[in-house]
Symmetry: C2
Subunit: 403 residues, 2 copies
Amino acid sequence: MADAPKANAVVGQSGGPTGVINASLAGVIEEVSKHPEIQNLYGSMHAVEGIVKEDFIDLKDISIAVMEGMASCPSAALGSSRDKPDKEYCTKILDVFKKRNIRYFYYIGGNDSADTAHIVNVMAAESGYELRAFHIPKTIDNDLLVTDHCPGYGTAAKFVACAVMGDDLDNRALPGVKIDVIMGRHAGFLAGATTLGKQRDDDGPHLIYFPEKGVSMENFVGDIEAVYKKLGRCVVAVSEGMTDTDGTPWVKKIAKTKETDAHGNIQLSGSGALADFLTAQVKSHLKIKRVRSDTFGYLQRSFVGFQSQIDVDEARRCGRKAVKLSLTEQSGSVAIKRTGEGEDYTSELFCTELRNVAEKSKSMPEEFINKDSNGVTNAFLKYAMPLTGGLPKTYFLGHQKRL
Amino acid sequence: MADAPKANAVVGQSGGPTGVINASLAGVIEEVSKHPEIQNLYGSMHAVEGIVKEDFIDLKDISIAVMEGMASCPSAALGSSRDKPDKEYCTKILDVFKKRNIRYFYYIGGNDSADTAHIVNVMAAESGYELRAFHIPKTIDNDLLVTDHCPGYGTAAKFVACAVMGDDLDNRALPGVKIDVIMGRHAGFLAGATTLGKQRDDDGPHLIYFPEKGVSMENFVGDIEAVYKKLGRCVVAVSEGMTDTDGTPWVKKIAKTKETDAHGNIQLSGSGALADFLTAQVKSHLKIKRVRSDTFGYLQRSFVGFQSQIDVDEARRCGRKAVKLSLTEQSGSVAIKRTGEGEDYTSELFCTELRNVAEKSKSMPEEFINKDSNGVTNAFLKYAMPLTGGLPKTYFLGHQKRL
């Protein structure tokens, strides 16, 4: 490997924001400042859009106070983009890199972002331009390959756990059926995390449905009926990507049905549609009066003032690691390896090839989902719990002795 | 006034749970324990339902650890009820009071709960039974009369402020139109609180709509268009009770339209309906691609691990105050008077008559809503900000200098 080139660096944030993507950015900024080989650090506004438009901010110019404040603040401080660059787009990116002598490229995002870094990296090599391209992982869905888990997941897991802990207490106070729709189009890791706050045998969520395991409406309603008969109430968490037994997401099914309706002004692919559909199904089949639903929506990835400290620390380390790697390696994606469990949770970072992460995605492993496909296993709890950094206790007095 | 009777006491929690209704319960428990006149302290499970069923727990038996844990935990630790007792129901309540020698009645809830306490109190007086009946206020809607504000509001205000701060950062990262539906059927105090985290001139929410001020769909869409043209994005907060210019809630209007639809299995009075309707309106009129909505739902009143400390402290003081008052007064509702502003915020508690609070409700004062009826005034910010106990700072780098 050649010596680290004396050149400029660029960093961008792509895809859906998370609670800790700014901590990764802070990690990049602080590590870059230690290495004189890296001259300017360009912050690209709105990911690849900012690169091709040359809309760059000077990240060596921001104050420590802003960097540290940003690190504890959700969303993407550089802005994001949903652009998925093709070859022509990537050629433009490379042209800007050449023009600005940018030879370090740090890209924080999901599998699409790893793919972009990979494509630009290959094109640079083909044209004989020395570039070091590194992907820094983030997703709240936790669906990237190779890494044990993704920065962003722990904070989102803590959020949905605390939300459903409170929702379960609310459901104890005013019993009925409550359905919560959780982010996760293809992977059920976040829906599974709603169980992490369970403290009593009869705590909810009592049922969970995953994109990985199809469920018929008959079984969905039947499961709820069984819990309701036993406890007089039922809290259900479903992934937004929850599927029918044929593998089709329910969201798609109800949108299709709706297309035949000529009014056309009720949006069904929107956030409330799945929750409202499921509520109506339960109401009409079970004749239970109090059936409510919530769709947690963007709060899961952008709520202010509520991070998992372990997640923040790992996200920041991932940013630093990418910069360190770029001084000795040509390209790669930062990944996390778990080296300690439970209260002794620890992790190490390592480098994997960009193509191992690019475009692919991971589902919940079989051993994390129970045999009825409507809940999680202890193996899942052991996996996910440490990533939240710990959860508060909850209190309900219904179990106290009677006077 | 006669001496405080040597007798038992009962406490209940009624209506929708809040983030601090358990702190008020803790206040009742700790104050009762100081007064030997009050013998048993019955905790009624599920409010008035527990009284008539005699489902009581022994609140002098719970540990300090449970009491303190409970005080920092949302929802109603004794359970709640939506029952609105009529005269017959109240007769049953009074019969149980007589049977159990209960002469102290503490009822934590909204205006319906004040009314129940009032009815039972009048009936007791008529039958010559010595009873001391006190209402302890709670609502997240903040719509009770007499009191400056309601315990529960500050914590919910902090929640929606932090949610919209994050949502606004998310909208900066991926620009478009975002609509957030906030609790509040008749009063816009909580929708107004979404502005409390604004730190930069162009921070959202850029528009707010209240139940108190009707808005036509034409003006709603027009307001959004104007902001979108100026900023390239727009964050909107609407009360769930947002009304048309004729005063009819939009939720009712869209439900009515829907009744003519023969399918009947899509619930429109549910949580997602208003948000999805507004999204569809903006999409179809403005041809903006990225229009999203969230309905914050029950998270606003039951999210675990996220209270306003000022709200917790006041809620607890209200519980204690009710008990203290009951030793010297016959009945009343605890109310809050503001005695210091801003960072020097302080408050005192006083007693008002039950009938002053019973059944009635308060709207946002005119001076809290701007002249265009789509935002709040500085007077509102001054009123609401201290109740959150302070909010985190947010960070976005788009204002930094370009390289």
